[in-house]
């Protein structure tokens, strides 16, 4: 049997600040299976981004244990087991689209011909062929975020960690990217951990939705989605989708997110 992509037990994280300690994560228990599309949803301050950063070894937990791909987060990072997509595209403005896609490959010591091939391939995955020589500022916000996703795919990581990747985009572009990204995921079936504060986004994309609540940051509920695999945006009008959204909202309410 294959190991889980992520396993967290009794995870705790306390930030020491000047006035008082902040309990960012408390008693977090979570298993993420390989091939899952998991969303963390909750209001700001519920620790969803912190949890993602712990998985990525960008924060160290103060208690409990966490295993990523069967090893510690640090080893997983050293093995370059995950690609991270930030809230903003975080492209280097002095590099072209192609240059940005090649950045991780250069750092990982992949030879030039292979770099070009992979950059081309991942640009194709996000439907941006022909934009290789453009600089980031010449692209719209949605296109920049697509490049950023393509950059995380160039080195073919097993795990994709995404921190509100579509949060800064307008709703029309966001819908478009949601559908596009779902198609992409259905093709490559990577494990995706996705942070969002949009209920429709979480319900539409995920196989499982983890509802979180603030002060202290904790998991309230894990909801399995039963939506069919090849769904389109139209599914959001169906009773099944509305029921799922309702369950997420109930979960958030149970965590006093609306108080």
């Amino acid at each position: 049997m294959e190991a889980n992509a992520v396993e967290a037990k009794n995870l705790d994280l306390v930030f020491q600040t000047r006035d008082s300690p902040i309990h960012a994560l408390s008693e977090v228990n979570l298993e993420i299976r390989r091939g899952d599309f998991i969303s963390f949803i909750g209001p700001s301050g519920c620790g969803k981004t912190t949890l993602l950063r712990v998985i990525a070894d960008l924060e160290k937990p103060t208690g409990g244990s966490i295993v990523v791909n069967g090893v510690s987060p640090e080893q997983a990072r050293l093995q370059r087991a995950y690609g991270y997509v930030f809230q903003s595209p975080a492209l280097f403005p002095w590099r072209t689209v192609e240059g940005n896609l090649k950045l991780p490959l250069e750092i990982m010591g992949i030879d030039a011909a292979e770099r070009t091939r992979r950059a081309k391939e991942s640009l194709k995955m996000v439907n941006l062929e022909g934009f290789e020589k453009k600089f980031p500022w010449q692209l719209s916000g949605g296109m920049q975020q697509r490049v950023s996703i393509a950059r995380a795919l160039t080195f073919d990581p097993e795990l994709l960690l995404m921190d509100e990747p579509f949060g800064a985009l307008d709703e029309i572009v966001r819908d478009q990217l949601n559908e596009h990204f779902l198609r992409l995921w259905e093709k490559n079936r990577k494990t995706v951990v996705f942070v969002t504060h949009s209920i429709p986004e979480a319900a539409y994309l995920s196989t499982r939705i983890v509802v979180m609540s603030p002060r202290p940051g904790r998991i309230i509920e894990c909801i399995d989605s039963d939506l069919p695999p090849d769904r389109t945006l139209d599914i959001r009008e169906t009773p099944k989708f509305l029921d799922l959204s309702h369950r997420i909202r109930e979960g958030l309410r149970a965590g006093h997110s609306y108080d």
């Binding site: 070894d57 960008l58 990072r77 050293l78 370059r80 250069e106």
Partner: protein
């Protein structure tokens, strides 16, 4: 065509220059008149304003020479003499510019190395920074002769000691600018590099260095101008052998104000050329780095 003329800086600059020249001519009459009037009275010559004006703009050793006298002198000492002649401003300008450029090179390199050290080594940040700031509070005119004499006593003369003075002045803006520049990357970019397990050298060359480029050019523009000042100051205590500084010094020994002014104007033209050269390089580099044209 009219729009381009309106948007360009040609008209404002010419108006300012015309205004300065006007004041200059008036000032030449005003400042030179006491000497002339004194002379007229001793020689008991008839004089009126027109004669005063003409004489004030044509004195051999005026308090303030008129612009055309300086231009005439510059024409003579730049265009009419062989460039190897000791009386050619091209020769002296070259002496100054060569030590300026060597000093600028040393200073910029030193500035960058110090900045890298300060950014990467916390101990250096705490220990070196106060010394760097203290180094700039010492008046350069006081320390320049000591550098020249000190290096001269161990057999180093000519270009090198002057370059050291230039370097001493121009490493400072580079260090200050580059410390800020190398620390300028977005935290999100630093996190990104961390997710790739990028080494220190990868983070430096692929992120910190390119992020600091605008800061580097801002510093270099300041540096190259003060490097020229350093070179001229370095020429003053060196026995007035060669260079624009030497021309200034000999000019003041012999009361040759016209010579002083031509050397001064030469120096400022050189400084302007150097800064514009830097701006041109900056434009090319930033354009290559995808910057929008300013």
């Amino acid at each position: 065509m009219i729009r381009r003329l309106r948007d360009s800086s040609l008209i404002p600059v010419s108006v300012v220059v015309a205004f300065i020249i006007l004041i200059w001519y008036a000032g030449a009459v005003y400042l030179n008149s006491p000497v002339l009037i004194d002379r007229y009275e001793r020689q008991k010559t008839e004089w009126n304003f027109e004669k005063l004006r003409q004489d004030a703009w044509a004195m051999e050793r005026p308090i303030l020479p008129a612009p055309h006298q300086i231009l005439k002198d510059m024409n003579k000492s730049i265009l009419q003499r062989k460039v190897t002649s000791k009386r050619s401003l091209v020769y002296h300008g070259w002496v100054t510019i060569s030590s300026t450029l060597v000093g600028f090179g040393i200073g910029a390199l030193l500035g960058i190395v110090l900045a890298v050290g300060i950014v990467y080594i916390p101990t250096l940040n705490r220990s070196v920074m106060p010394w760097i700031i203290a180094s700039q509070t010492i008046p350069i005119l006081a320390i320049a002769p000591m550098i020249i004499v000190g290096l001269g006593s161990i057999g180093l003369t000519g270009l090198f000691p002057k370059s050291i003075i230039s370097a001493y002045l121009c490493f400072f803006p580079v260090t200050i600018g580059m410390v800020k520049g190398l620390r300028s990357p977005d935290p999100i970019h630093m996190d990104l590099m961390k997710t790739y397990c990028a080494s220190y050298s990868h983070t430096f060359f692929k992120l910190r260095w390119p992020s600091s480029t605008p800061f580097l050019f801002a510093s270099l523009k300041v540096s190259i101008a003060i490097s020229l000042v350093g070179a001229i100051v370095g020429e003053l205590p060196a026995g007035a052998q060669a260079g624009l500084g030497a021309r200034l010094l000999t000019g003041s020994y012999y009361g040759q104000t016209i010579q002083i002014w031509s050397a001064l104007i030469c120096a400022s033209i050189l400084a302007a050329i150097l800064v514009f050269l830097m701006i041109a390089i900056e434009k090319i580099v930033l354009k290559k780095m995808g910057g929008r044209l300013v």
